[in-house]
Symmetry: C2
Subunit: 189 residues, 2 copies
DNA sequence: AACTAAAACTAACAAGTGTTAGTTTAATAT
DNA sequence: ATATTAAACTAACACTTGTTAGTTTTAGTT
């Protein structure tokens, strides 16, 4: 099993609740109740509600940043890099379903680390865009609007947390392949 | 200009605030302040905070339902129907940027009308899926996983409210064409 | 000028908010 | 058995929440 501190359990429980109602609508008493303790007891393990949110979001954002760096610096073709980005999103999302919901919906409630998060996100998008632009230059991709391509792919990848859980016994590898196909080659015959 | 009742102004102002922080984090005092009045005064025009949310979301959901009905019942090819769905989303989103944010992020805070909203959404997705399945049968679309195709298109279309505002002087028609191209034909050369 | 109706106001409510202080219990190490 | 520490508890705080009641102001009509 995992090495699970009590703090980790609080964060995990919080993420589940955050997905259902969003950060603002979840109270410390809600979180405590879900763990079978009183709200005040939470503070033996965490500093604040804000810290819970921050741990969830920043940890995920840094994972994406780290993996993007590897993809970016590889010598693969642009198409292959895009496929690796798809796989990256599917993998992280399948392992962090609830947390991904906060990453997508609750980031604006970050306080101290909001700026840092926005920086990571902007850098990620820039790296993504560069890969697309390189693909166009190298004649791998159609000569279309890179902004629209980025938007389309990233929107889909960021919504994975909504759809992945609906497919119970999902073959992650197969799904990744199918999704890459649709995102890159479209659906037209 | 528009026929704008005071109630409409409240709803519009609320939608702007809801986009920034989400329904739960916006207080009646926030809304009042943005309108230059006191919170209690809002209740001369609306019944509750819940009513504001409901007006925003149900009105939009019904617009989508209504238009989907027209597309569904037309005699156009599946590809053309899909293009019309893309146009539908771009049009409604470009005219209701803030409201679309609530539709996507705050629907779970609906109370009395939650069930009704979920029904509308489910029906919409089913109609969308049927069009894709028909396209596969008729050999218009690749013989892929229709669920993945639906997911990919719908995720992108539902995220439009995040991206459209970033492009200030956007040619809506051109954007619709570009987006349809990417969603249907992909980005591969 | 007097009347009316819409829309603002002040004041307050009961309930809920995140968080702190101080205390007790449970589990572990000596 | 005793001391120690982690983790729970109770009680309370200062503040914010949506909302109501009752009143005053504003603007348009007779």
């Amino acid at each position: 099993m995992k090495y699970d501190t009590r703090k980790d359990q609080i964060i995990q429980t919080s993420a589940i609740l955050f997905q259902k109602k969003g950060f603002s609508a979840v109270t410390m008493r809600d979180i405590a109740k879900a763990m079978g303790i009183k709200a005040a007891s939470l503070y033996n393990h965490i500093k604040s509600k804000q810290e819970i949110l921050s741990e969830i979001i920043i940890s995920l954002a840094e994972q994406f940043t780290e993996q993007m760096k590897i993809i970016k610096n590889s010598n693969d073709s642009s198409i292959d890099k895009l496929k690796q980005i798809v796989a990256l999103h599917v993998n992280i999302t399948s392992k962090n379903q609830f947390e991904m919901s906060s990453l997508n919906s609750d980031w604006m409630h970050l306080e101290a680390e909001l700026e840092y998060y926005l920086k990571l996100r902007k850098n990620y998008e820039n790296d993504f865009r560069s890969i697309i632009e390189k693909g166009i230059q190298d004649n791998e991709l159609i000569n279309g609007n890179p902004e629209v391509m980025l938007f389309s792919m990233l929107s889909t990848l960021r919504s994975l947390y909504i759809w992945l859980p609906k497919k119970e016994d999902l073959d992650i590898g197969k799904f990744t392949t199918e999704l890459s196909l649709v995102l890159i080659n479209g659906i037209n015959k």
